[in-house]
């Protein structure tokens, strides 16, 4: 345990994934770097006919970088100094055994960790050039930019399907714009529109588990986040519903950066551009998903992905 020293694997991995990086460079040329503001999404988005019809304004994803992130519950250190970058408009999977701190780490990114009594975080979480833990930063603004989808689908039980999706814009007092169009666009982007278009007034809790989870994804999309964190989004779903969510993730990465915590290594292999392996609160290694699963540099990663422990 060397809490203050950088973790060597991280430094090594980045140059290794050069090829990957080039591809990234290309897409980022037309992206956020030049300037933050919104642009109209082209037909390149998730469901082309739908989104262009709704004419949604969207922003490209933003990158997130953890710098020596440490997280505590009371005096127990759960995340023990992690350096890690989530590149813009990529899907990064986080794998690791139960209790290794991957959920905690992800909850630090949008500052949900501190909502638990006695919990706190140290180190920095950089959203592009902004430290989200800077005292002058409004935590509410951070969460609008960094959405979250939880393990269990949890639509608001008192609300209809429509109101569930509209909850984000309403609750964050971001009115303005056509709420109906916003809701429709979010539902289309979450691949749920065709299934619920004729019953938007019915309670969201009446949908099936998989539909509820897509409703929750639509709900977080409706606030126009640049990053979406998914904490085991499919662990409560059957394989078919899981497949739908995975297809969705693949489409969504064109407009948001996605971080997905998963216990399911096949899932990581299917959806993630890069995969990070976390063990006992520390990053073991990160690299292109293919490499992590076929030729990991660290023996512990190999043991984990081949099922020798965890």
């Amino acid at each position: 345990m060397t809490p203050d020293g950088p973790i060597p694997e991280v430094a090594d991995v980045d140059p290794e994934s050069r090829a990957d990086f080039d591809r990234q460079e290309q897409s980022s040329a037309e992206q956020s770097r030049e300037q933050g503001p919104r642009r109209i999404t082209a037909a390149a988005t998730a469901s082309p006919p739908a989104s262009s019809a709704a004419n949604v304004e969207a922003k490209p994803g933003l990158s997130v970088r953890l710098e020596q992130l440490r997280a505590f519950y009371g005096s127990a250190e759960q995340v023990k100094g992690i350096d890690l970058e989530f590149r813009a408009n990529e899907v990064t999977a986080i794998i690791g055994p139960s209790g290794c701190g991957k959920s905690t780490m992800v909850r630090c990114i949008n500052r949900m960790h501190e909502e638990i009594p006695g919990a706190r975080a140290e180190g920095r979480v950089m959203l592009e050039d902004l430290d989200v833990y800077d005292p002058s930063v409004d935590v509410v603004a951070v969460r609008r930019a960094i959405g979250m989808v939880f393990q269990k689908p949890n639509p608001f039980p008192t609300m209809s399907i429509f109101d569930n999706v509209a909850a984000g814009p309403r609750l964050s007092s971001r009115r303005g714009g056509d709420l109906r169009a916003k809701v429709e666009a979010a539902l289309r982007d979450a691949g749920l529109w065709d299934e619920v278009a004729d019953r938007l007034d019915e309670p969201g809790a009446g949908l099936s588990g998989g539909q509820q989870q897509r409703l929750c994804i639509a709900r977080s999309l409706a606030v126009d986040p640049e990053v979406i964190l998914m904490d085991e989004p499919c662990s409560a779903l059957d394989p078919i519903a899981t497949l739908k969510i995975e297809e969705l993730i693949d489409q969504l990465k064109q407009r948001v950066t996605i971080v997905i915590v998963t216990h399911n290594m096949q899932q990581a292999a299917r959806v993630a551009d890069r995969t990070a392996f976390v063990l006992d609160g520390k990053l073991v290694e990160i690299g292109p998903t293919q490499e992590i699963f076929t030729k990991p540099t660290d023996p512990r990663t190999e043991e984990y992905v081949t099922g020798k422990f965890g």
Binding site: E115, P117, R143, P157, A167, L171, S173, P203
Partner: protein, 298 residues
């Protein structure tokens, strides 16, 4: 070793023993008896209320004030109009004080105070308050607001005494319900970038609403039936008044006064008033349940 023998062996192993069957029957008998014992007074109360109370119900019973004239038979004693309206007024004001404040305390305890020492202190005092006999609240208000201000009885002073009585019931029941709202709902609303106060108003409170209505009703029902806090705060009077600054009649106090009367007709009026009080609380319950059911679907 035949198949036949094997199956009897198995049967013997899995059969319920007669002793256990007996014990089961005995235990069931005990809990059933307990239920019956508890039901007997309940049924009797409803029976006597209906039998004795219904007789005194009439149109004029609800539309006339008690006259205080008890010497010329049942035709001249008057009804309970002032008591019904007085109870509604006093309890409405008491609820207007106790419900928002109590829910506010519960929200603070659950959403902000949590496990801080101050929250624990508040919970402790609320528990103490729960155990305080109702007459003590009446006495307290009497000392502070009646004797203390050198003035006299008034309806609003009765409301304050009742609101003190309602506080712990509202706080405790609302707290329990708020704790039942899944943390996941709060988290997902917070993760949408909603400020905490909006999460509380738009997610937590609507989700908890049906349960909280039940708790509030319990408090209202308890307050509406209390005599002791009103005896020397709102006192009693014959006429109907809508001025909460004056002496005010109420159903429990009128029942109390009527029951100790020597005139049978007046005593009979107590039954009518008691049945009226029970019916009012029942109606309130039904209405609130309907509201709660509708709000859940909306």
């Amino acid at each position: 070793m035949s198949a036949q023998g094997g199956s009897t062996e198995i049967l013997a192993r899995f059969a319920v023993s007669p002793a256990r069957r007996r014990r089961d029957r005995l235990a069931r008998g005990c809990v059933l008896t307990a239920t019956a014992i508890a039901l007997v007074p309940l049924v009797l109360i409803v029976y006597y209320l209906l039998r004795k109370g219904l007789g005194s119900w009439s149109a004029s019973f609800f539309t006339s004030d008690p006259t205080g004239n008890t010497f010329f038979g049942s035709s001249s004693i008057g009804g309970i109009k002032s008591a019904i309206l007085g109870t509604i007024e006093i309890v409405a004001l008491a609820s207007a004080i106790a419900v928002p404040t109590g829910v506010g305390v519960a929200v603070w305890l659950v959403e902000y105070g949590r496990n801080s020492w101050f929250a624990h202190t508040v919970r402790f005092f609320v528990d103490v308050l729960t155990g305080v006999p109702s007459i003590v609240f009446g006495l307290f208000v009497y000392i502070v607001l009646v004797v203390g201000t050198g003035s006299t009885y008034a309806g609003y002073k009765g409301s304050i005494a009742l609101s003190l009585l309602m506080f712990p019931v509202v706080i405790r029941s609302a707290e329990v319900i708020l704790l039942l709202v899944p943390a996941a709902l709060r988290e997902s609303a917070l993760a949408l970038g909603a400020p905490r106060w909006r999460v509380i108003f738009s997610i937590v409170l609507p989700t908890a609403l049906p349960g909280m209505i039940t708790g509030v009703l319990l408090a209202v029902a308890r307050a509406a039936g209390e005599t002791a806090p009103l005896l020397f705060t709102a006192a009693s009077t014959h006429g109907t008044t809508f001025n909460l600054g004056q002496f005010m009649n109420s159903l429990p106090v009128q029942i109390y006064n009527d029951v100790i009367s020597a005139t049978p007709a007046v005593e009979h009026r107590a039954w009518g008033a008691a049945l009226t009080l029970v019916t009012m609380i029942l109606l309130l319950n039904l209405i609130a349940r309907l509201i709660a059911r509708r709000s859940r679907l909306a």
